[in-house]
């Protein structure tokens, strides 16, 4: 009797959720299903010749693995720098007098700008014919603007990291600052009274309270950077290139036979993202527990 009632309630809840749930089911699960099918050579708009796992075999070629490693590296460095920088700036902002805090809304500019606009900002500033190179030339550091060291397109992803850090740090500040605002300032005052330095206040009082939100921010930023397309398209390198660019080229610009490979790469990227979230939350949890034991 009671189980029947709960079944009925579940059904009602599902129906009520359906305006949200149906689009999710159709768009996300459907899209994922289609990607898996096409990666195996099914449901393609042309006849697939070759074995079931050909797409995956091609997706695991050395140069694509290099792209995979490079995407992970760029994501790690960008997300790590953004989280670190964001936490420090949030702390500094929090200590400012109220009036100055109000003025500091300028940091939100990076939040409002779309990724593609940030990539353009980086292009305008940092190319060898860009703003910074011209300043260097006018101050006499280099003989011609073209002698300015190549910051972008040098094969190491610095351009992309610059763009991501510019775009993502404000996001971390926003999250961290809202946590700090709910924190009791007397905690810091007490620590100072007992003679803690500014550094140990940051690491031992502030950081433990920011831990949860910084972990979340790191996961979001890491996975976004890992798979995003717009910034790599404008300021990315040619080789190794980011995975998103490789997938785009394979799917849209090359022969149709490459489509299973492109789809296989997308499926692998999705699996990696899920795996990363699980692994990261486990490690973060364990680290948190050890902290508490101390």
């Amino acid at each position: 009797m009671s189980s029947e009632g709960s079944n009925h309630n579940l059904f009602r809840a599902l129906v009520r959720l359906s305006p949200l749930g149906l689009p999710f089911l159709v768009l996300f699960v459907g899209g994922l299903g289609l990607a898996v099918a096409q990666s195996l050579g099914w449901l393609l708009p042309f006849e697939h010749q070759g074995a079931l796992l050909d797409g995956y075999r091609a997706a695991l070629k050395p140069h694509l693995l290099a792209s995979f490693g490079f995407s992970m590296l760029v994501a790690l460095v960008s997300a790590g720098l953004s989280v670190g920088l964001g936490a420090v700036v949030a702390f500094v902002l929090w200590k400012l007098p109220y009036r100055l805090q109000q003025l500091s809304v300028v940091y939100k500019v990076g939040l409002i700008l779309p990724h593609i606009a940030v990539a353009f900002v980086i292009l305008v500033l940092w190319t060898q014919s860009g703003f910074i190179a011209s300043i260097g030339y006018h101050l006499g550091f280099v003989k011609t603007p073209a002698d300015f060291p190549a910051v972008l397109f040098a094969g190491n992803g610095v351009g992309m990291v610059l763009a991501y850090v510019y775009k993502e740090t404000p996001f971390v500040i926003l999250l961290a600052f809202s946590v700090l605002q709910r924190m009791d300032p007397r905690l810091v005052q007490t620590a100072r009274m007992f003679g803690a330095s500014e550094l140990s206040v940051f690491f031992r009082v502030i950081l433990p309270r920011l831990r949860a939100v910084l972990h979340t921010a790191f996961i979001i930023l890491y996975l976004y950077t890992f798979g995003a397309f717009d910034i790599p398209f404008l300021v990315g390198e040619s080789a190794p290139s980011m995975l998103s660019i490789e997938v785009y080229n394979l799917y849209f610009k090359r022969d149709l036979v490459n489509r299973p490979t492109a789809m296989a790469m997308l499926v692998l990227m999705f699996l990696f993202s899920v795996f990363f979230i699980v692994l990261y939350t486990r490690i973060a949890k364990r680290m948190g527990q050890e902290e508490r034991k101390l």
Partner: protein, 409 residues
């Protein structure tokens, strides 16, 4: 509760209802492949043609929206609606529709060529053969020249719209350009960092690699018969070694390439590189008129060959308005439209029709068009013109370039 469920069901049914309605508007009795041209024209009168085309050229868009739209309306009573869309996107869309068996599409006419045409034709996603049904194709077109598209037989499934040829660009005030591919190698050594090409599979970058392939392996004639793996394997290493010899002297020492022709245009305009390239002979002139390039910019060609190709219009297998599409495709091949298209203020696209088929007065009108000081005269371009390579070579070259040049050495 029930109302909510009903609403959801109604929402799910909505798209299929919409589909039914459009099917009913079609006249089943009219077959465009057998009716006379007069019947096609009268069937088209009062209809709307949706022309899907690449939307990135402002002057092209304007020409379609003004001249073509107005003429089509006054001459044939057909309204033209231009829908901007990248070729790769509409190819995708059509292949998916073909796969899903969707008989009633949304596209009437496409702007297409090369690989994209091949994909569509191979998968049966095009209507036709229709070329010989259009009077202007029969009257003005050289059917041998327009009979293949990147070496792939057209067989009447698309009709020529315009012609393009590969040119290089330089600035007279900045540099003296090389004359051929061996000269280019010497030039980059003398001007390190001042040359690069868009990264294949970009259209322009890929065309540059094909020209280098012709030039370093003894000309184009050997490749036109179709793909020959053995020939490719013997010849391709010569191309890779040439391009790798260029590499250390390229912009950013070849560690990065501009991702598109537009990116390279920007590098050239800002002076980061001194040579540029384009698949449009009037590109330099239009950039000067736009104010992006200085007046001293000039286009030129290499003496060891410059690739040309046709671009076409085609009709999808599920076009809702085939008659209107036929009338538009036919109008685009008329001498009036081709002449208007050639004028640099309008678009500056070279005619697809053969000028020898015209009477002297009309031919004169074409010769009199002022293409601008930065543009090479048609006969200079014709002297070095070489045809495009068959499409299978294109895929092999792009793949090989990534393996041997981008990641090589």
């Amino acid at each position: 509760m029930k109302r909510v469920l009903l609403l959801i069901i109604a929402l799910l049914l909505l798209p299929s209802c919409a589909g039914d309605e459009t099917v009913q508007t079609q006249q089943p009795s009219f077959d465009p492949l057998t009716s006379s041209w007069e019947e096609v024209q009268s069937a088209a009168r009062g209809s709307v043609v949706r022309f899907y085309m690449y939307g990135g050229f402002a002057h092209t868009n304007k020409w379609i929206d003004t001249y073509v739209t107005a003429e089509m309306l006054t001459r044939y009573g057909v309204s033209v609606v231009r829908e901007p869309m990248d070729a790769s996107v509409f190819v995708n869309k059509l292949l998916t529709e073909k796969q899903a068996g969707r008989e009633e599409g949304s596209i009437d006419l496409l702007w297409v060529n090369g690989e994209n045409f091949k994909k569509l034709k191979q998968n049966g996603a095009l209507f036709g053969p229709y070329a010989e049904r259009t009077p202007n194709f029969l009257r003005f077109m050289d059917s041998t020249l327009a009979g293949t598209d990147f070496g792939y037989p057209v067989e009447g499934f698309e009709t020529p719209f315009g012609q393009a040829q590969f040119v290089y660009e330089y600035d007279k005030a900045r540099t003296a350009p090389p004359q051929d591919f061996p000269g280019l190698l010497a030039w980059v050594k003398a001007h390190p960092g001042k040359f690069t090409y868009p990264q294949p599979p970009d259209f322009t970058g890929s065309a540059f690699v094909r020209q280098a392939f012709y030039a370093t392996t003894g000309g184009h004639a050997q490749y036109l018969a179709g793909f020959d793996q053995a020939l490719f394997d013997t010849n391709a290493p010569k191309l890779w070694s040439y391009l790798n010899a260029l590499k250390p002297y390229l912009w950013q020492q070849g560690k990065a390439y501009p991702k598109s022709a537009g990116d390279l245009d920007t590098l050239f305009a800002r002076g980061e590189v001194d040579l540029n390239m384009s698949y449009h002979p009037l590109h330099t002139q239009s950039k000067i008129l736009e104010g992006t390039y200085p007046d001293t910019a000039q286009s030129f060609v290499f003496m060891d060959g410059s690739i040309f190709n046709f671009h076409f219009t085609a009709i999808p297998f599920n076009a809702p308005n085939v008659a209107g599409a036929l009338v538009l495709a036919n109008f685009l091949m008329s001498p009036e439209a081709q002449l208007s298209k050639l004028k640099p203020d309008n678009w500056g696209d070279f005619p697809a029709i053969s000028l020898t088929s015209l009477d002297p007065a009309d031919r004169d009108a074409f010769n009199k068009v002022d293409l601008g000081a930065a543009t090479l005269p048609a006969h200079k371009l014709a002297e070095v013109a070489v045809p495009e390579i068959p499409a299978p070579y294109l895929e092999a070259l792009e793949k090989g370039w990534e393996e041997h040049v981008l990641r090589g050495q």
